[in-house]
């Protein structure tokens, strides 16, 4: 689920923090910059693991702050392909089942990857697995808040860095806010034996 990523960056320490130990000031700046943020094509950054190398700190003309090039390792959430994860169902919509891990929310299980046959119950807004046995069909509901085991089948990174000003026509005609896209989304699947709600597979 978690990986270590080696990165290099130049950290700026303002003069009023010069009394602090350099390592602490740098660790705080790095965490301030990266914690809980998604780095494109890398994953969701959690926290600093360690600092591997500190190069010389320079003060440039016109700016009283020191600039230090730092080599460090960061703990990043980046599940590998086909990894099994356990999360909680956040809700269901016609697009599929939305799952959350608490610290990471953008996980979707599309309808084709649910245990088949599945149907969407419009009145309760919930996906249902129509499980057939010899006795008849059982309807297994995927309720919000239930723990669910799923396999990661795909991930997608979207670059959400700001683009230049859009053309005047487009901005003046529509007053609605631009759609917010999640920078990092995972696509899951529960179409195998053992996957799905934990309560479906416990043998008590």
């Amino acid at each position: 689920m978690f990986v270590l990523v080696e990165m290099v960056d130049t950290v700026r320490i303002p003069p009023w923090q010069f009394e602090r130990r350099l390592n602490e000031a740098i660790a705080e700046e790095l965490n301030k910059k990266l914690a809980n943020k998604v780095v494109y094509n890398v994953g969701l950054c959690i926290c600093l693991f360690d600092i591997t190398k500190l190069e010389d700190a320079y003060v440039f003309p016109g700016d009283g702050a020191s600039h230090t090039k730092v080599h460090f390792r960061y703990v990043v959430f980046h599940p590998f392909l086909d990894e099994i994860l356990i999360g909680k169902i956040k809700g269901c919509s016609p697009e599929g089942v939305h799952v959350s891990l608490g610290f990471f929310d953008d996980i979707l299980i599309p309808p084709e990857s649910l245990q088949q046959p599945a149907k969407f119950d419009e009145t309760e807004q919930v996906w249902v697995w129509e499980y057939e046995t010899e006795e008849g069909a059982h309807d297994l509901y995927m309720d919000t808040g239930e723990e669910i085991r799923f396999r990661v089948v795909d991930e997608s990174f979207v670059d959400t860095s700001p683009t230049g000003p859009s053309s005047a026509e487009a901005t003046s005609s529509s007053e609605e806010l631009p759609k917010k896209e999640a920078p990092y989304t995972l696509v899951g699947s529960i179409s195998e034996p053992g996957l799905g709600l934990l309560s479906w597979w416990t043998s008590n």
Binding site: M1, F2, V3, L4, V5, E6, M7, V8, D9, E28, N31, K32, A35, N36, K37, V39, N41, V42, I46, C47, F49, H71, R73, V75, F77, H78, F80, D82, E83, I84, I86, L101, G102, F103, R149, R151, E192, P193, G194, L195, W201, S203
Partner: protein, 148 residues
Amino acid sequence: MEVKDANSALLSNYEVYQLLTDLKEQRKESGKNKHSAGQQNLNTITFETLKYISKTPCRNQSPEIVREFLTAMKNHKLTKAEKLQLLNHRPMTAVEIQLMVEESEERLTEEQIEALLHTVTTILPAGPEDEQNKNTSQDVAMDEEDPA
């Protein structure tokens, strides 16, 4: 900012749990500035991640247990990713093993799967939820004995 290696090492949930708990202790001791606007993101992510990992079996692990587990796994010829998943999830049924080990029907016989399950459940400690279930079932047993 430059990413030198996006996949330099895999971390087990236990390692991340240790790291975050130590970080929390450190920040509690230094006290003064954890509520500044810049630290809010770090607080949120460490709180949520710690909350998630605390509900998994990784909470009760220790470095010795992990070492013992990996030595025991040497004979089973599993890939690194498979051993990591077994360590993080502590599967208790054959179905779960089949999910985590690729092509398990071809690579492992039924006895090997049983042996694997046995190793996993004996070496790795149970999670906080399983302990809760165990306690409630023990209470039930005691109630049944009382009338006698």
